[in-house]
C-alpha cells in the first residue's frame, strides 16, 4: 500500500512538471496551430540557468547559506528571463517567417532549433551534467516507507501556483483575452484591433516563463542539469497536452497530471525501463480513438 502512495506522490510531482510544460505547448498550438518542438529545450535551459545562477551565488557569496529563499527566487527569476528571451528569439527567427509556409516547414524548423539548443549545451558542458550546489535542504518528510523531499513539496506547490496564475492570466487579463481570441480566429481578432504579432509573442513568453521556472525547480529536485533533460519530458508534455485536448488550458493541466500518475503507476507493472513507452502508447491510443482529447471539441472537418 505504501508503495502505491509513494508512486502516486512521485506521479503527482512529475505530473505537475508535465502540466506546466504542457501549457506552453497548448498555448502555442492554440495561436499558431503549430507544435513547438523546441519547447522542452526551454525547460532544459531554465535548469541550466538555475545551475549557473546558484553556482555564481555559491562561488561569490554566502547568500546561498544565509538567505536561500532569495537566491532561489533569483534563480527562478533568471530561469524565466532566459527562457522567455530564448523563446522570443526562436519565434522571431525560426517561426515567424514560416507562418504561411506549408505546415511541415515550421515543424522542421522547430526540430532544428531543438537540435541546435541541445547540442550547444552539450558542447558547452562538454557532455557532463552540472550538479547543483546544495541550496535547498535535502531533508524529507517521512511517513513509514513514504518519503517526500521538501524540495519535492516545493515543486508540487509551485507547479500548482503557476498553473493557477496562468489560468487567471488567460481568463482575466486583457492579454489573456487577446490570446484566446487569436487562438479562436486569428483574422477576426486582427480586424478587432488585436496586434496579432505581439499576442503571439506574449503567448510564447508565457509558456516559456513557466517552462523556465519549472526547469529551475526541477533541476534542484534532481540536483543535476544535463543537455538532454528537456527532450523526453518535452515529448511527454506534448502527449499530455494532446491527452487533455490540444489548445485547451485546463486540458493540458489535467493531461499533465494524468500522464505523470499513469507513468508512475505503470512502473509497478512494467518496470522502470518501459516508463517512456507508456507516454508514447498513450499518445498513439488517444490520437487514434479520441484525437480531440478529454476536453477538446470533436472536429468534423472534411469538405
Amino acid at each position: 500500500m505504501q508503495e502505491w502512495i509513494q508512486l502516486l506522490i512521485d506521479g503527482v510531482t512529475i505530473g505537475g512538471v508535465y502540466a506546466v510544460i504542457a501549457l506552453g505547448y497548448t498555448l502555442v498550438y492554440g495561436v499558431l496551430r503549430m507544435i513547438n518542438f523546441a519547447h522542452g529545450e526551454l525547460f532544459m535551459m531554465g535548469a541550466f540557468t538555475g545551475y549557473y545562477t546558484l553556482t555564481a551565488f555559491e562561488n561569490h557569496s554566502n547568500l546561498n547559506d544565509s538567505v536561500p529563499v532569495i537566491t532561489i527566487a533569483v534563480a527562478i527569476a533568471m530561469g524565466m528571463i532566459v527562457a522567455v528571451t530564448l523563446a522570443l528569439v526562436m519565434e522571431r527567427i525560426a517561426y515567424r517567417p514560416l507562418r504561411r509556409a506549408p505546415r511541415l516547414a515550421p515543424l522542421i524548423s522547430a526540430i532544428g532549433v531543438s537540435i541546435f539548443l541541445r547540442n550547444v549545451m552539450l558542447r558547452a558542458t562538454n557532455a557532463q551534467g552540472k550538479v547543483y550546489p546544495k541550496v535547498f535542504p535535502r531533508t524529507a518528510v517521512e511517513f513509514g516507507e513514504i518519503r517526500l523531499l521538501y524540495v519535492q513539496i516545493f515543486l508540487v506547490v509551485l507547479s500548482v501556483v503557476f498553473l493557477a496564475l496562468l489560468y487567471l492570466f488567460i481568463q482575466r487579463t486583457k492579454a489573456g483575452v487577446a490570446i484566446r481570441a487569436v487562438a479562436e480566429d486569428r483574422d477576426t481578432a486582427a480586424l478587432m484591433g488585436i496586434n496579432v504579432d505581439r499576442t503571439i509573442m506574449t503567448t510564447f513568453a508565457a509558456g516559456a516563463a513557466l517552462a523556465g521556472a519549472a526547469g529551475v525547480v526541477y533541476g534542484m529536485f534532481v540536483t543535476t542539469a544535463t543537455s538532454g533533460m528537456g527532450f523526453i519530458p518535452g515529448i511527454k508534455a506534448f502527449t499530455a497536452a494532446v491527452l487533455g485536448g490540444i489548445g485547451s488550458v485546463p486540458g493540458a493541466m489535467a493531461g499533465g497530471y494524468f500522464l505523470g500518475i499513469s507513468e508512475s503507476l505503470s512502473t509497478k507493472f512494467f518496470g522502470a525501463e518501459y516508463k517512456d513507452v507508456v507516454a508514447f502508447v498513450l499518445l498513439v491510443l488517444v490520437l487514434i480513438f479520441r484525437p480531440w482529447g478529454l476536453f477538446g471539441k470533436r472536429e468534423d472537418k472534411r469538405a
Binding site: S109, I111, N119, R123, D197, Y274, L287, P291
Partner: protein, 413 residues
C-alpha cells in the same frame, strides 16, 4: 488568392525576404549569382574540403567527387550522366584511404535510406520521424539470423543474399503495421507519433534480452560473399550499397512517374478530393510506408554486415533525424536532392572532422566531430526559412514553394 485585406504584419521576414530576393535577382549581378552561384560556391567548398588536413591525393579525389556529383545531379538525368556518375563513384574511392572509404560507405548508406524516406516524405507527403525503426528491423534480422550464436544453422556465405529480401519484406510489414494507426493523423501529429514509434522500437530492442540480447548487442556477424569472394571490408560492401542505391533510385523514380506516383501526389495536394476521384488513400499511404520501410530494411542488412556487431544504441533518434535532414535540406521529392544531402550532411562533417576555426575569442576545435549537430540544427532552420524546398528540389516542389513566395510578395507590396 489575392490579398484578403488583412492588416500586413510589417515585420514578417518571410515577405521581406521574398521581395528582397526577388529584387536582388532582378539586378544583373543578382541574376548571375542566382544562375551561377552554386557552380562557384560548391567547387570552393570542395576545395576547402580537399585542403583539410590529411593525405593530399585522397582529399582531392574526395573533393572531385563532391563537385562532380553535384554538377551531374543538377543536370538532366540521362544514361550518359548516370554512367559517368557510376564510373566516378566506382573508380575514385579506390584512390582513397580506409578512413575515406568508410565515409563513402556511410554516404552511400544514408543515400539509400534517404531514397527510401523520400518515398514516404517526398512522394506521399507523410512526415516520418521514426524511420530508424525499419533500419533497425533489417539490421537485427540479419544479425540474429547470421551470427553463429543465434541463427546458427544458416550457411554463412549465402545467407546475406537470402536475408536481404526477407528483411525487406519484414520491414515492409512493420511499415504497414506502423502505418495503419497513423494514417488519419495530420502532419505534426504524424511526425510525433512516428518519432515515438522509432523510440519504442529501440527501447524494446534494448529490453527484450531473450530475443535480441539487449544492450549487449549482437556480434560476430559474418560478412557476405559473392560467389567465392568474401566481401569483407566496408569498401566491398560499399559497392553493394552503391548498387542498391542505383536500383532503389531507379525503382523509386519509375514509380513516381506512374499512376502510383500520381495518386501520391494527388493525396499530397488534396487528400479528400483524391479520394473522391477514386484513389484509395489508405492503401496508397500504406504502400508508401511499406516501400520506404523495405528500402530502410535493406539498408539495415547492409549496415549489419559491415559493422559485424550491432547494439540498440546504434538505432537511436539521431539516425532518423539525419535521414530526414538530408532529405529536406537536399531537396524533397527528388533522388538527386537526397544524394546531395547525403554528401553535404554526412560526408562533409566527416571530412571536416578535425577542422578548427576561431570565432572571436572562441576556439572551436574538431568542427566536424563535435559541432556537427549544432551546425545541423542551425542548417535545418536556415534552410526552412530561406529555401524550404531544399537545395535541389524536384520541379514539383519548386513550383509549390514558388506559389507561397508569390503570395508572400504580393502581400508585401
Amino acid at each position: 488568392m489575392a490579398n484578403s485585406g488583412r492588416p500586413a504584419t510589417s515585420l514578417d521576414p518571410r515577405t521581406h525576404w521574398a521581395s528582397l530576393s526577388a529584387r536582388f535577382r532582378a539586378t544583373p549581378a543578382g541574376a548571375a549569382v542566382a544562375r551561377w552561384g552554386e557552380f562557384v560556391a560548391l567547387p570552393l567548398l570542395a576545395i576547402a574540403a580537399g585542403l583539410a588536413p590529411g593525405n593530399l591525393n585522397t582529399r582531392w579525389a574526395f573533393a572531385i567527387i563532391v563537385v562532380a556529383s553535384y554538377l551531374i545531379l543538377r543536370a538532366r538525368t540521362s544514361l550518359f550522366s548516370i554512367a559517368v556518375l557510376a564510373a566516378m563513384l566506382t573508380y575514385l574511392p579506390q584512390q582513397m584511404d580506409a578512413f575515406e572509404r568508410g565515409i563513402m560507405f556511410d554516404v552511400a548508406l544514408y543515400s539509400l535510406l534517404g531514397i527510401g524516406l523520400n518515398v514516404v516524405v517526398g512522394y506521399a507527403g507523410l512526415l516520418d520521424l521514426g524511420y530508424v525503426a525499419f533500419f533497425a528491423t533489417g539490421a537485427y534480422l540479419y544479425a540474429l539470423l547470421a551470427a553463429p550464436e543465434f541463427g546458427g544453422g544458416f550457411d554463412v556465405g549465402t545467407s546475406f543474399w537470402i536475408v536481404l529480401p526477407m528483411a525487406m519484406v519484414l520491414a515492409g510489414l512493420v511499415g504497414v503495421a506502423l502505418g495503419v494507426p497513423v494514417l488519419r493523423l495530420r502532419g505534426d501529429y504524424l511526425a510525433i507519433v512516428t518519432l515515438g514509434f522509432g523510440e519504442i522500437i529501440r527501447i524494446m530492442i534494448n529490453n527484450q534480452d531473450n530475443i535480441t540480447n539487449g544492450p549487449v548487442g549482437v556480434f560476430a556477424i559474418p560478412k557476405p560473399s559473392l560467389g567465392s569472394t568474401e566481401l569483407s571490408g566496408p569498401f566491398e560492401l560499399y559497392f553493394v550499397v552503391l548498387a542498391g542505391c542505383f536500383i532503389a533510385a531507379f525503382a523509386a523514380e519509375r514509380i513516381r512517374d506512374s499512376r502510383v506516383g500520381r495518386a501520391w501526389e494527388a493525396i499530397r495536394e488534396d487528400e479528400d478530393v483524391a479520394s473522391a476521384m477514386g484513389v484509395n488513400t489508405t492503401s496508397y499511404k500504406l504502400l508508401a510506408f511499406a516501400i520506404g520501410a523495405a528500402i530502410g530494411g535493406a539498408g539495415g542488412v547492409m549496415y549489419s554486415a559491415k559493422q559485424s556487431a550491432v547494439f540498440p544504441s546504434d538505432f537511436n533518434l539521431d539516425v532518423s533525424i539525419n535521414v530526414i535532414a538530408l532529405v529536406i535540406i537536399g531537396g524533397m521529392g527528388n533522388v538527386r536532392g537526397v544524394v546531395l544531402g547525403a554528401l553535404l550532411l554526412i560526408a562533409l562533417p566527416e571530412v571536416l572532422r578535425t577542422f578548427s576555426i576561431d570565432i572571436a575569442f572562441v576556439h572551436l576545435k574538431n568542427l566536424g566531430a563535435d559541432y556537427r549537430l549544432v551546425i545541423f540544427g542551425a542548417a535545418l532552420v536556415t534552410v526552412m526559412v530561406l529555401r524550404p524546398e531544399g537545395l535541389l528540389p524536384s520541379r514539383r516542389r519548386a513550383a509549390e514553394f514558388e506559389q507561397v513566395e508569390i503570395i508572400e510578395s504580393e502581400r508585401a507590396t
